[in-house]
């Protein structure tokens, strides 16, 4: 299941870098695309603004198939206060931009399953696939707009996993 989670994140990260190269985050001394896995970073007291944060939630396994299939729920959280040059008055537009970027990042709804534990990432035999995102309503906290979207990510368990 970890390979599916890694592959999903890497697919979104690569797509985000192509969709909006300017959305970056400085984390642990490195500038990288503005998306991160919450459980693979230092704990946040406040989620960073203008960055997509992946949080893994539910898990289901179907063992009645020729290959066991795992389904994991991923919550993508993002928030913005708009930009300084607009005094935050563009926060609605910034949120819309992130909505569109997330929708674009998730298409196509599949990617090759890859094992990143090896020094050179090894492509596996099956695909990781997911369904359409379910967007939650925007939450307004004074000048901060935040939203989350939930996606179910499916993958078949391969031998050795």
């Amino acid at each position: 299941m970890q390979n599916a989670k890694d592959s999903f994140y890497m697919a979104l990260r690569t797509r985000l870098a192509a969709i909006n190269p300017e959305r970056t985050v400085l984390l642990r001394g490195a500038v990288r695309p503005g998306i991160l896995v919450e459980e693979a970073e230092a704990p946040f007291t406040q989620l960073p603004n203008d960055v997509f944060v992946l949080r893994w939630l539910g898990l289901g396994v179907d063992l009645d198939l020729s290959s066991a299939m795992a389904a994991e729920q991923c919550e993508v959280l993002y928030q913005t206060c708009g930009t300084q040059s607009f005094g935050g008055l563009d926060r609605g537009r910034a949120m819309s931009e992130m909505d569109e970027e997330l929708t674009a990042m998730l298409q196509p709804f599949h990617t090759a399953k890859t094992n990143y534990t090896t020094t050179t990432p090894a492509t596996m035999l099956t695909q990781v696939f997911w369904d359409e995102p379910g967007f939650a309503p925007i939450v307004v906290q004074r000048d901060l707009l935040s939203r989350s979207a939930k996606v179910m990510v499916y993958s078949y368990q391969e031998q050795g996993e």
């Binding site: 890497m10 001394g29 990288r32 896995v37 693979a40 704990p43 990143y116």
Partner: protein, 144 residues
């Protein structure tokens, strides 16, 4: 009579803060700072152990903010840190600012106990920081 001493005329609050911190049994804190990740893709999914460096700052004083204990709730502490101690490390490690140093800090160790930073506040006088106040909570035990 004018003060002709060669010291910085606006460093009085810093000296006073240091003296106060030392006089109330000021101790040393270790900031565990994450190193720059080199193998980006693997470190982003938690596969490569990040290198850490312990940055020593002193004098510091800890004070407990919530004396009562609640189930599932970690105690909160405030760490008062000398701004001059922080500035020395910021210069030595070539950080852009004290905020950058705190942003790179994964945990704070005081007397062998690990804490996580909740927030950072700064006290200033004459345009210079003389004290940093770090709101901390106790870190949970991690697997060895």
């Amino acid at each position: 009579m004018s003060d002709t001493a060669p010291r910085n005329p606006v460093s009085g609050p810093q000296m006073l803060a240091n003296a106060l911190l030392r006089s109330v049994a000021g101790t040393t804190a270790l900031l565990r700072v994450t190193g720059t990740s080199t193998d980006t893709s693997r470190s982003e999914v938690g596969l490569v152990a990040t290198t850490f460096a312990d940055v020593v700052v002193s004098p510091v004083v800890m004070r407990k903010l919530r004396p009562t204990w609640q189930a599932g709730g970690e105690s909160k502490w405030e760490l008062l840190v000398s701004a001059t101690g922080v500035e020395q490390q910021v210069r030595a490690l070539d950080f852009s600012s004290a905020q950058a140093l705190f942003a790179m800090t994964l945990a704070v160790t005081v007397q062998g106990q690990d804490f996580l930073i909740d927030s950072v506040a700064c006290n200033e006088a004459f345009g210079q920081a003389y004290l940093y106040r770090l709101l901390l909570r106790e870190a949970r035990q991690q697997a060895v």
